[in-house]
């Protein structure tokens, strides 16, 4: 049933997203016919954002913003619930604002539209809450596959960013929907990559150094963009509530005024990116556009317009890459490829730095260009950009945006951190286990001192069982007996050293114990240590070790 529904979701989302892309493109072409007067570049984005701003304020408040954080909210907070009204609002408002030239992208909104369609279909099909929640990332991957023409990256993004788990059980459904949406995209628009690029090659090994510099520049640029966006958003959020409907128009006006100087700042700008990728680069223009696009997108987004930051991050990256490439090619013409090659890699670095999905960014740029020769430089630059961005701005953009909304999403990093809290790192040494010949009185005393209700018993490092406090009943006739007579030798809870503390907590809870023997994966009878509830609390920073207080 889930697979069938994934196919239906993929087809439906693919068709809707293609319609969204085509409609936005056609509307934009009507707004800016060739040779139109410069005043249009100010008036159209201002009016467009005013209209969409009012619609968002009055009718579709949930359709504001990019769509990625909102989708994550839906999964984490609302069991995958996204209303049909939100889907329609997102489609309508984004079509208006993007067609008017607002410097935002269509991919983020597509993701929310896709997630919304999946959510609506799942509810209409009468699925349970959990199934609805599981189908939302299926819609996301279908939307991204259709919007970017990148089916593999779409799957990765849904797992890496939306779910935060590359081994999520919905992997099969996500793949099916992505492939289906991609198939429909090809059926309608043909087999064309998002960007056509000349065949670039590595001219000399020295270029790896320049690609590393590009990674650094990309990381710094990404941090500037994220910090600027968050800061402007804080400022807008501080304005009176009754100006919310008007705020998007400020973004539209700023973009329009910038477009008077350089028209390429308008819209998502993929046409210009393609020209830059072709090597049609003037250093002054691309450097200026990188700065202006950072400002334009930050203001557009922060002011409350509907649109995403995927597309702009690719644009910004291409401009930064083009700048670095143009400089490098001017200084070392015989050792470097043309600036277009650097623009191509730059797209990935900005994406990795801003969205913080390094794996997705590599695959996405590869799929968008279908040029395998770029993979190694792309990986180098992306990794450096990611690390620089991580060092200077710890919180990824979508989590930071969610925090501004007062929502604390479980980040991929925090999940990874939890996984890194392994039992082996916080356990007590195996020598602390009770020997078989320990008297019951002594055992009872030690267990009480340890504030636990159970403890492992071992002899020469070999696990013999566990002894529970209630089995160590007091009495003159039993006090001198050894614990070997009271141990539980089978079906006791244990854990491996590389398993997480959260899993240990689960095991303790289900077994009703507050200590677990930590055993070897190679030999379950080999005791490696003892993990207690206070140890776990200490690991999470909840216990003062000197007093053992919670």
């Amino acid at each position: 049933m889930t697979i069938v529904l994934s196919f239906v979701v993929g087809a439906m989302v693919g068709l809707v997203v293609v319609a969204f892309i085509l409609l936005t493109g056609r509307l934009a072409a009507r707004m800016y016919p060739p040779g139109s007067a410069p005043w249009r570049r100010v008036l159209v984005p201002t009016l467009g954002s005013l209209v969409s701003g009012y619609l968002l304020y009055r009718y579709f408040p949930d359709a504001r913003g990019s769509g990625i954080p909102q989708t994550k909210f839906a999964i984490v907070l609302h069991n995958g619930y996204i209303s049909l009204k939100t889907v329609i609002g997102k489609f309508l408002c984004c079509s208006i604002s993007l067609a008017s030239g607002i410097a935002l992208g269509r991919e983020g909104p597509s993701v929310q539209i896709g997630a919304g369609i999946a959510s609506v279909l799942a509810r209409r099909a009468g699925l349970s809450g959990l199934s609805v929640k599981n189908l939302v990332p299926v819609g996301c991957s279908a939307a991204l596959a259709a919007a970017f023409n990148t089916p593999i990256a779409a799957v990765l993004f849904s797992l890496e960013e939306v779910l935060g788990d590359l081994h999520a059980p919905v992997l099969g459904s996500v793949v099916v929907s992505s492939a289906t949406a991609w198939m429909f995209l090809h059926l309608i628009l043909g087999d064309e990559p998002l960007f056509h690029v000349p065949a670039y090659r590595l001219v000399s090994p020295w270029e790896f150094g320049i690609y590393a510099v590009l990674g650094l520049v990309g990381g710094l640029g990404s941090v500037c963009f994220v910090k600027l966006l968050l800061a402007i958003r804080v400022w807008f959020r501080g304005l009176p509530k009754n100006t919310v409907w008007l705020q998007p128009a400020v973004g539209g006006l700023v973009v329009g005024l910038m477009a008077l100087l350089i028209p390429e700042v308008l819209g998502v700008g993929y046409d210009f990116v393609e020209r830059v990728l072709d090597g049609d680069v003037t250093l002054k223009v691309v450097a200026l556009l990188a700065v202006m696009k950072i400002i334009a997108t930050a203001v557009s987004y922060s002011s409350g317009n509907a649109g995403g930051i995927f597309g702009p991050s690719l644009f910004i990256g291409a401009m930064m890459g083009g700048s670095v490439g143009a400089l490098a090619h001017a200084w070392f013409p015989n050792q470097t490829a043309g600036p277009g090659a650097y623009a191509l890699i730059g797209m990935g670095t900005a994406f990795a730095g801003i969205v913080r999905t390094p794996l997705t960014s590599v695959i996405m740029v590869f799929e968008m260009t279908r040029d395998y020769s770029i993979i190694v430089p792309l990986m180098i630059s992306n990794l450096i950009s990611f690390l620089v961005s991580y060092q200077l701005q710890r919180e990824p953009i979508y989590e930071a945006l969610a925090h501004q909304e007062g929502v604390h999403l479980p980040s991929g990093e925090s999940r990874e951190q939890l996984k890194r809290l392994q039992a082996g790192a916080y356990m007590q040494p195996p020598e602390r286990a009770f020997p078989l010949d320990l008297s019951m009185a002594e055992a009872r005393l030690r267990i009480n001192q340890l504030h636990v209700n159970t403890w492992p018993v071992a002899q020469d490092g070999v696990m013999k069982g566990v002894v529970r406090l209630e089995q160590l009943s007091a009495g003159a006739d039993t006090d001198h007996c050894a614990v070997r007579d009271s141990i539980q030798t089978d079906k006791f809870a244990f854990i491996y050293g590389d398993q997480s503390l959260s899993l240990a907590l689960e095991r303790m809870g289900s077994a009703g114990v507050d200590s677990l023997p930590v055993v070897s994966r190679a030999n379950r009878e080999q005791l490696q240590g003892v993990l207690t509830l206070p140890d776990i609390l200490t690991a999470y920073g909840l216990v003062r070790q000197d007093r053992g207080e919670v």
């Binding site: 439906m12 809707v16 319609a19 056609r26 060739p34 009468g126 000349p198 072709d278």
Partner: protein, 374 residues
């Protein structure tokens, strides 16, 4: 019907209804998408064509830089159109960006290596980069490549362009073979025939030039320019009498024709210098051969411009100097005249290497030496 069966039945109906609705929505969306996609495609094609037209206008107006941008825009919008790419390459060449033009043309030739127009542009791009051998190869690929159905004379024009390049480079043998192939390609227009006749002269084949010009003057007897060119061809072939007659014919109809006047002066000068004329006395032949030797030595000294002569040239110049010094003592005879002429010819043969430049082909000495070599 039990309640559970009823509920199950109801659920089945609602699922079927949902599936139907989803199917209908998908069909509607598919139709909308197709319509939008077709509309977009049409608009993009129109816009691309508009860019292309603008680019052609810019290129004709000499604004190659703008043309490059316009053709690039057209290409981005319609990548399958190879005419846009070819025009882009042509504009890049006009802009002086040979390397970029080669990259652009590589894209076309990668898909279709027989594209005659792309090969022609590539030949020009190679020529721009000074890669003559590769240019020659691409010219030939263009000649034997696939031309559009409406381009009947394309291959011929390319061969003519190739002949021009070979003429510039002084590759006489290759030039001659291209010209002969051109002549065999059926009916040619007057402009092409004129060009071929002129190129025969440059290929060192004045007899063929004479034949070509005679053929043309028979077809167009009122064309004085052709008659004048025929005179020049006769001059190169060494038939000074025929040259004079041709020039006089022109002058009888156009007395102010400066070119013909100088041609006649040249005929007179050559007639005065020509040692091969019949019925010359041995004294006169000796006088002419002595003058020819003197002119040859002067020509070589002039082009050496103070540089020391080569190992081969030095003894010849020394011999010429000795003969000059012994001029008064020497008895004029046919033998002495012949020996001086032979020395002059040997000096002339060494001239090319010594001077690193071809002689001006319509100078009297050069014409005379050509005749003597025949």
């Amino acid at each position: 019907m039990p309640p559970s069966a009823h509920a199950s039945n109801q659920s089945g109906i609602s699922t079927a209804r949902l599936a139907l609705v989803v199917l209908m929505v998908m069909l509607a969306l598919y139709a909308v998408d197709k319509f939008l996609a077709r509309q977009e495609q049409n608009e993009l094609l129109q816009q691309a064509h508009a860019y292309y037209d603008d680019g052609q206008v810019s290129l004709r107006a000499g604004n190659a830089r703008l043309a490059v941008r316009q053709f690039q825009s057209a290409h981005v919008l319609e990548r399958s159109n190879e005419e846009y790419l070819r025009s882009l390459a042509a504009a890049q060449l006009a802009e002086g960006e040979g390397a970029k033009a080669r990259d652009t043309l590589d894209e076309i030739l990668h898909k279709n290596s027989n594209d005659a127009q792309a090969n022609l542009l590539m030949a020009r791009a190679m020529l721009h980069g000074g890669r003559f051998d590769e240019a020659d190869a691409y010219y030939h690929r263009s000649i034997y490549g696939t031309w559009p159905a409406n381009s009947k004379s394309g291959a011929r024009e390319v061969r003519l362009e190739l002949a021009g390049m070979l003429s510039e480079r002084g590759s006489r043998q290759e030039l001659l073979s291209e010209l002969l192939l051109l002549q065999n390609q059926g009916a040619l227009d007057i402009t092409t025939e004129k060009q071929i006749a002129e190129l025969f002269l440059r290929a060192g084949s004045p007899q063929r030039a004479v034949a070509a010009y005679r053929n043309l003057t028979q077809k167009y007897p009122d064309d004085l320019q052709l008659l004048s060119s025929l005179g020049r061809a006769y001059l190169s072939s060494g038939d000074y009498g025929a040259a004079r007659r041709a020039f006089e014919k022109v002058l009888s109809r156009d007395r102010e024709n400066k070119e013909v006047q100088s041609g006649l002066a040249m005929v007179a000068r050559l007639a005065d210098l020509d040692p091969t004329s019949r019925r010359l006395s041995s004294i006169e032949k000796y006088r002419r051969s002595t003058e020819i030797l003197g002119l040859t030595v002067s020509e070589i000294r002039g082009c050496l411009q103070g540089r020391s002569p080569s190992e081969n040239l030095r003894p010849l110049l020394l011999l010429a100097q000795t003969l000059e010094a012994a001029k008064i003592k020497t008895t004029p005879s046919n033998e002495t005249a012949e020996s001086r002429l032979e020395l002059a010819e040997r000096l002339w043969a060494e001239r090319a290497e010594a001077c690193n430049a071809a002689p001006v082909s319509d100078e009297p000495l050069a014409l005379l030496m050509t005749k003597l070599a025949q």
